[in-house]
Symmetry: C2
Subunit: 197 residues, 2 copies
Amino acid sequence: MFMSKAAITRLSILQKAFDLIYMKGYQACSIDDILATTELTKGAFFYHFKTKDQMGLAMVNEVMYPGMKKALINPLIAAQDPVEALYHMMEHVLLHAPFFQVQYGCPAVNLIEEMAPLHASFHQALLQLILQWQEAIRTCVKQGVASGKINQDVNPDGVAAFIIAGYSGIRNMGKLVGVSCYHTFLKELKMYLKTLS
Amino acid sequence: MFMSKAAITRLSILQKAFDLIYMKGYQACSIDDILATTELTKGAFFYHFKTKDQMGLAMVNEVMYPGMKKALINPLIAAQDPVEALYHMMEHVLLHAPFFQVQYGCPAVNLIEEMAPLHASFHQALLQLILQWQEAIRTCVKQGVASGKINQDVNPDGVAAFIIAGYSGIRNMGKLVGVSCYHTFLKELKMYLKTLS
DNA sequence: TTGTAAACATACCAACTAGTATGTTTTCTA
DNA sequence: TAGAAAACATACTAGTTGGTATGTTTACAA
């Protein structure tokens, strides 16, 4: 896949922005901060992006969305055992995602927390992210019900809400307590998932 | 309880700060923003607080901590039925806490998300908050186990992590989806709590 | 090779930030 | 009631912010 030099520049800005925003927050991360980690200047930044917010939205759509799809959605598609797939998705993203650091939580959860109430455009973009994941979990549970591996009276919407909330929440708690709560959470998640079948 | 005029001024700054920080975030909320909602000026602010951060910490300890203790901890102390107490605590804080607005989530969760990774002093103060709640939930579950109302093989640490994570997470999700997910979450929480007994 | 538009760099600006220096008023005690 | 300290108000600063105006370089087609 060919990328022009300009396209590489643009993507590198988005990547560096993603790294910094992950650790500092969106509003606390200035354009100068981002540019300081690159070899670029403001001319380059504002050539590729009209405003900081437009860059932020591009970051959501072009960096965060592909990342979350790979880690959170693809493992659920066409899963043999839905219960096991749900657990392993969670365990993998919590314990084995190499980029994530426990003190900084999850980039997507962070951005939702900070920007969803403030900017309608961020709200919209991040809502799509969550709805995609929600749908993937729901479908996964429904397939489990259809194949008889999950109890009939289980509510797929409820399970999806529980899992998404659990993930977002334990990312929050991890910022204070550290990784130990991840393990505690995963144990309890396994117990919970067992009650579904 | 008598309060000097100065004490009232100080507390009103903390209250207004709490309101604004709840809606805008800590770093995005400037001292001028806070003072604009009062009849005060910078002289008053920096007479009562050495820095913005010291004001923020006072807000955590003197406004947020009492609030969360009243809503999240007291209802669990000496609860007759622990399972019912846990559910009602959650239902009440999610649906009936008058100050909270779904699009802004929970003030404590917001501040943890934003400040825990950045400031050690905030991290410390907010950690105390969460540890208190965690301990209250754990004690509540243990009492349930002791009284035979909760199954012996239930892990109090796991339940506490699950509930705290669930709460923080659904507050996050509510910012995107709205109150509907609160109801879905509460239904599933009821199912989960039922499996404990 | 040459022209030209794309892809940047440099130098700026007005608005805002936390914080300070120095006043003035209020409160309360002696 | 006088005075002094507490409780504020006013005016300012240096640094940072997103964004702009204008220049220079690079890539690429003719």
